[in-house]
């Protein structure tokens, strides 16, 4: 019996791995009445795959049978691969047994679409419901919202899941038409809209009635494939920004396209996964969400694509020298956050430490500020600072010359001699 499960697990974990979401934090489900598990704190990465991604949830498809034929997807119906399907009870047993051994934080369940959207969604809900009601399971559950699923089902899903997500996959409507002609953009939006409204309603009802049943306490997220169609970074981030502001997304994930087939509409097999671009997009995403940047400051008509050589914050600072230098000992938090080489943690340490005395070069270094970038943009309580007016191009070349970057080899334009 374990052999069959093993085979299914291999097929259905392999098919689910291109979904990058692994977050298991942000929920508020504590363990009551001696049940199993809790998910009220921070997320935990229980392991890491050899590609360096976190393994936090048992991430599987319920089945990889699918009625759709989307060009970018491994489980599309025209692809000749092994197919399998889990029974509801099998997924429940796997989840519980892995959880009890402290392998995972919970379950991430997605599925190919068999028969129709509602039929598939119903099955996913059945698993979550069984875990919550029969097994008294308080671990994390992330369910996929199946595009086109009915409002009633989306409501029910939110009662048992901590997070719901629909993968928008292709950032633009035109791109979707090209690669997934059978799918309708509106079908993606519908469950997203429903979940958003339910969460808003839950939050307002919760204020009046304390025991309102929880609804998707960890919110919803989405994912976009990067580099499958020809979008610019600006188009991708504008689209991400749209989902953050209009659908209250907790996260937008960016997944560099991994070539899986030869198709004239897609990058050819064997082409590089755009990992550096993915990295720059995440940096931009962070700047938007935690550093108070507006998407238009980082990407606009003049700069539709991110600079590969330097990070987006440094790139912004180089384009806007009029905001610098910043006085470390006087500036507001919002201004400190915009200094290249100074992160969230350094800012909070600076704000704390400068109450006691003026900070100098050595203090900043001990605190953890990345001075090789920051030094061109700040004033602090030390002499011997960069006082020359260097100009952006000079600063950039100095920083590049005096630092190492993990992606440097991928874009180095310098000729190597050997």
């Amino acid at each position: 019996m374990f052999d069959r499960i093993k085979e299914k697990l291999e097929i259905l974990a392999d098919a689910a791995k291109y979904d990058v979401s692994c977050s298991s934090s942000g929920s508020k489900r504590s363990n009551k009445n001696k049940g199993l598990g809790n998910s009220d704190g921070m997320g935990i990465c229980h392991s890491y795959t050899e590609d360096g991604r976190c393994v936090s949830l048992l991430k599987i498809l319920l089945t990889n049978y699918c009625i759709f034929d989307c060009a970018y997807c491994v489980t599309r119906r025209s692809n000749d691969i092994k197919r399998a399907a889990f029974k509801v009870q099998e997924v429940v047993d796997l989840t519980i047994n892995f959880y009890r051994r402290n392998y995972i934080e919970g379950l991430f369940l997605s599925s190919g679409i068999f028969k129709d959207a509602d039929f598939t969604m119903e099955r996913l809900i059945k698993v979550a419901k069984k875990l919550r009601l029969e097994e008294n399971f308080n671990g994390y559950i992330h369910l996929k919202s199946i595009p086109g699923a009915s409002d009633e089902l989306m409501y029910e899903a939110g009662l048992y899941a901590d997070r719901l997500s629909v993968n928008i996959e292709i950032p633009t409507v035109s791109g979707l038409k090209k690669l997934a002609p059978e799918k309708d953009h509106a079908d993606f939006i519908k469950p997203m809209e429903k979940v958003k409204n339910e969460i808003i309603q839950y939050k307002s009802e919760k204020k009046l009635i304390k025991n309102t049943p929880k609804y998707a306490p960890a919110g919803q997220s989405t994912q976009m494939i990067v580099g499958a169609t020809g979008e610019s970074d600006r188009e991708i981030m504008l689209s991400a920004n749209h989902y953050y502001t209009n659908y209250n997304m907790k996260r937008v994930y960016y997944s560099g396209y991994v070539p899986i087939r030869s198709d004239p509409r897609l990058p050819s097999l064997g082409s590089q996964v755009p990992m550096l671009r993915e990295n720059r997009l995440y940096q931009t995403d962070w700047l938007m969400r935690f550093y108070g940047f507006n998407v238009n400051e980082l990407l606009n008509q003049q700069f539709p694509n991110l600079d590969v050589e330097v990070d987006p914050k440094l790139s912004w600072a180089l384009r806007n020298p009029q905001h610098f230098p910043v006085d470390i000992n006087r500036a507001e938090k919002e201004t400190l956050l915009r200094i290249p080489g100074v992160g969230l943690k350094s800012v909070s340490k600076i704000l704390n430490a400068r109450k006691y005395r003026k900070l100098n070069h050595d203090h900043l270094k001990a605190i953890g500020v990345s001075l090789n970038r920051a030094k061109y943009f700040i004033i602090c309580d030390s002499r011997g600072w960069e006082t020359r007016d260097l100009g952006s191009a000079k600063i950039k070349s100095l920083i590049l010359r005096n630092s190492v970057g993990k992606f440097r080899k991928e874009y180095s334009s310098q000729l190597s001699l050997f």
Partner: protein, 260 residues
């Protein structure tokens, strides 16, 4: 001139607090505070054996807590759990700095002792988080979920709460093989246990005898899952090792060959 002294204490947190109490009471200039098994190579100062006194310890702690934030107090305790040589003296300096200023110095990162305590506490908290992640239970024949760990720092006291609230409907043991004690949860409460630990987990024969019949099947399923979820075209060994340092692999079923 103040008398200089090296203090020997019993290694407990209360013992350390008693040392701090004594340094004030006797007006000592303390140059070292040593736990039982430390290297004591100083011939030039007086060596005092400090006997832990809970009421003295509480007095120091109470005074300290009246100045510092909860975060500061936690940092000191966490730094103590690091068991790093010399951390006791850093803690003493932190107390002295607090008492001198009669104020919370928690955020004063320009003071080397405050920064040292904050950084050490951070290392300990990281290890705590790692243990919450990397513990792998194996189900025994008598239905106890059993795990051994050998963490860099003494984090068992810190992970107790997490595991007790998470696995409240199963028996479990987490045993620290370096420090030779463990936690045992019996469905009601978690207790500190220590026993002569002579189980050799490497032997397939012994495992068959100790562990539940299906235990190996689940371990194999987990290994299969771990392999299947890796994306081959994105292999990044450096990142893998950075997140999953090799010294932790010994706990991880997915990084080791199966026992049988």
């Amino acid at each position: 001139m103040q008398a200089t002294a090296s203090l020997n204490y019993d290694g407990t947190f209360n013992g350390l607090l008693t040392c701090i109490f004594l340094s004030y009471e006797e007006k000592l200039e303390v140059i070292a505070i040593n736990p039982p098994d430390a290297n004591k190579g100083d011939f030039f100062s007086e060596i005092l054996e400090v006997i832990t006194d809970k009421s003295k310890a509480n007095r120091v702690l109470k005074a300290f807590k009246s100045y510092v934030s909860a975060r500061g107090a936690n940092s000191v305790y966490n730094a103590y759990l690091s068991e790093e040589p010399g951390i006791e003296l850093e803690i003493l300096k932190y107390f002295q700095y607090t008492f001198k200023h009669k104020n919370n110095v928690d955020g004063d990162f320009t003071n080397p002792h405050v920064l040292k305590i904050a950084q050490t506490a951070k290392k300990v908290r990281r290890e705590k988080h790692r243990m919450e992640a990397f513990v792998r239970f194996q189900l025994t024949k008598d239905n106890i979920y059993f795990a051994t760990i050998a963490p860099d720092f003494n984090v068992l006291p810190l992970i107790n709460k997490h595991f007790t609230s998470r696995y409240s409907d199963q028996h479990w043991i987490i045993y620290d093989t370096t420090r030779k004690f463990g936690l045992y949860y019996d469905l009601h409460k978690t207790e500190i246990i220590s026993f002569d630990f002579s189980i050799n987990t490497d032997k397939a024969e012994a495992n068959q005898y100790i562990f539940n019949d299906f235990e190996m099947d689940f371990q194999e399923l987990w290994k299969k899952y771990f392999e299947a979820t890796t994306i081959r075209s994105r292999i990044n060994t450096r990142l893998h090792h950075q997140h999953l340092p090799k010294r932790y692999w010994k706990y991880l079923i997915e990084k080791n060959p199966l026992h049988n």
